[in-house]
Amino acid sequence: MTSEQNVIRDFFDTKEDRNKLTIFLVFLIAIVLYHATVFWVVLQDDIDSQFDLQSFAIGFEEQSTISEESRVINDGEVATLQFTVGDEVFDSHSGFGMLFLTISYAETSGEFADPCDTVSVDLTPTGANAAWDDERNDLSAISSDCETMSLVLHVFPEYNNTTQQVTGGGQQDWIDYWTDDSHGKGTFNLEVEVIVNEPPSALVPTVSDNEETIVVTWEAVFFDIDVAPVK
């Protein structure tokens, strides 16, 4: 290659040019080496782990609010009992986890050999936002022997009061996920129907059994969460 064809020679033709361009190239090499050192040595662990997913342990601490209500229900009547949790309770907890109901009654007619009445209860999926379709729910029951009936409704989806280990996202993401006061807001409706079972002496004019007293206990289980990174 002749001199005229070789541009490199023209670039480095004088000592001054050589010095200037050499300083420039050495500076570029120094920058590249600096970058390589930081990338492969100083920050290597951080860079390698930048896409590692962080795991978190999510713990729940439960607190319950209980309210009791009794209602006298006539034979053949379907009564609706309602339950609403105040906003201040939502404000002081992360979420409304579950709702437990116990429905109890006894034969109160006082008549001789009067059998227990038949009571059926049904927690209807209206009024409040909850995980109504959760397979673990127990939303209706019937009793003819004065046995206490229990119903369960999972209000906050996926809540089960066991410490969970999750992977991915950030700590705040999980706190946000488990802090939602929309679940459980509104009014729960419990329909109670009483069918009176007459005593054998019912033919006697002074003997009658035409109502029953039903006692319903609403236990609203709220939870507070603790999200801790797992190392």
Binding site: Q5, D17, F24, L28, H35, L43, D46, I47
Partner: protein
């Protein structure tokens, strides 16, 4: 206005200006061989960059749906980036000073670049895209070393040999480097201060690109910043010595914005311009107003300035209307985009912003009239007073140079077919599944 809208504006601007500029360049018979090739490639570079901007914007939109056609757009975007890389390297080898000095060197040089571009496209098809085989960061290495070397050589030439031509050669080199590397310069403190936002930069996102790929790409950024800091230092030194150049006013904002950007980016977890949906609003805004604006608006402005100022258009009575139309499009689209961006963050009434837009455009057109006249009547020369050895005479007929346009068109058609293939064969999804261990 979000990043996606800005990409569409950039696409319109680049394709429109690139297309019209190509027509003017083809009509200019006065260009020397290296100028003609460089001007052709520069115009094609902007047309394809416009296509890439549009493809990236469509990719962003497609990600919001559950369908897989985003692979088509991402493939188009990548293949257009290959041609951008090849174009920039080819221009650097030919303009402002041709480093390829013989027909043989030109043939070999351009063939290697064309071959490399096709090689990258083949890597996409065979599922080896975003691997070290594609030499990520090559563009930045080439630009920093070639244009950086030309800049240093001519800007620091002996004072007795220094003249307007040497300053212009340095200016063009500096402007081209700004065009390619401007967005990188805005992260210079991150490189020096070892910030996460620089070193955690991951263009592919997660395990789709290997650590080696990320390193090679970032290494290109590092050398680009090195070249930029060198130019800034030289310009400040020469300005203090009484030999200032307008390049200083171009470079300085990028490096000052880098300082401001350091304090903003350091507050978030995101790296570079890879902004995820959960990033804070301020980082998002900063990225749109700096990096995205550079990609979509500043790049066409710089290219337009080079084309007009350095005589790559032959402006006469016949071509003047189109050249003026290009300037007007640039001003109207750029100012309206900027105002829309401002309107998205400032509580300005739409009627007020419409009136403001009218005033700004009127002022801009007035300024355009004056500056356009100055640009075309006083083109900068790079040959007077320079040794002829820097500009060897080669006899390359224009019909051969015009074939570059045809070759580019063929490449684009192949790229569309490849993108279709990649989409239908789910190549990128399979790649992501393999590299990310099951996650798409």
């Amino acid at each position: 206005m979000d990043d996606t809208n800005l990409l569409f504006i950039g696409a319109i601007l680049s394709v429109a200006l690139g297309g019209m500029a190509l027509r003017l360049v083809r009509a200019n018979k006065k260009l020397d061989w290296n100028e003609a090739i460089a001007a052709h490639i520069l115009c094609l570079m902007f047309i394809t960059k416009g296509i890439q901007n549009a493809a990236t914007a469509y990719f962003n939109q497609a990600l919001e749906s559950s369908e897989t056609h985003w692979q088509f757009w991402v493939s188009i975007s990548m293949s257009m980036d290959y041609i951008f890389t090849g174009s920039a390297i080819a221009i650097a080898l030919l303009y402002p000073v041709p480093l390829l000095r013989t027909i043989k060197q030109v043939k070999v040089g351009l063939s290697l670049i064309g071959g490399f571009t096709m090689f990258c496209l083949i890597l996409d098809v065979v599922g080896l895209n975003l691997t070290a085989f594609g030499l990520p960061g090559l563009l930045y290495y080439a630009v920093a070393i070639i244009w950086g070397g030309v800049y240093v050589k001519f800007r620091l030439i002996d004072p007795e040999k220094r003249n307007d031509s040497t300053r212009n050669v340095a200016l063009v080199s500096g402007l081209f480097m700004t065009l390619i590397l401007g967005h990188v310069w805005m992260w210079w403190p991150g490189l020096i201060l070892q910030s996460n936002y620089f070193y955690f930069f991951d263009l592919g996102g997660g395990a789709l690109t290997s650590t080696l790929w990320d390193f090679m790409w970032l290494s290109g950024y590092a050398i680009g910043i090195g070249a930029g800091l060198t130019m800034l230092g030289i310009e400040i030194y020469l300005a203090l010595s009484g030999d200032g150049n307008k390049l200083l006013y171009v470079l300085l904002p990028y490096f000052v914005l880098g300082l401001i950007g350091y304090s903003i980016y350091s507050k978030g977890d995101d790296a570079g311009f890879i902004i995820d949906t959960s990033s804070s609003e301020i980082i998002d805004l900063w990225s749109v107003f700096t990096t995205s604006l550079h990609f979509t608006v500043i790049r066409p402005i710089i290219a337009m300035y080079i084309l007009l100022k350095f005589g790559l258009f032959d402006i006469d009575e016949e071509t003047k209307p189109m050249a003026k139309l290009m300037s007007i499009i640039l001003i109207v689209v750029a100012t309206s985009a900027l105002l829309e961006l401002l309107q998205s963050i400032l509580p300005i009434n739409q009627m007020i912003s419409a009136a403001l837009l009218g005033i700004i455009i009127a002022l801009g057109l007035g300024w355009e009239e004056k500056s356009f006249h100055r640009l075309v009547t006083d083109p900068a020369d790079m040959r007077i007073g320079l040794d002829k050895k820097w500009f060897p005479e080669l006899d390359i007929p224009r019909k051969y140079i015009s074939r570059i346009d045809f070759a580019c068109m063929i490449y684009c058609i192949i790229a569309v077919l490849v993108a279709f293939l990649i989409w239908k064969m789910d190549i990128i999804i399979e790649l992501a599944t393999t590299r990310m261990g099951g996650a798409e």
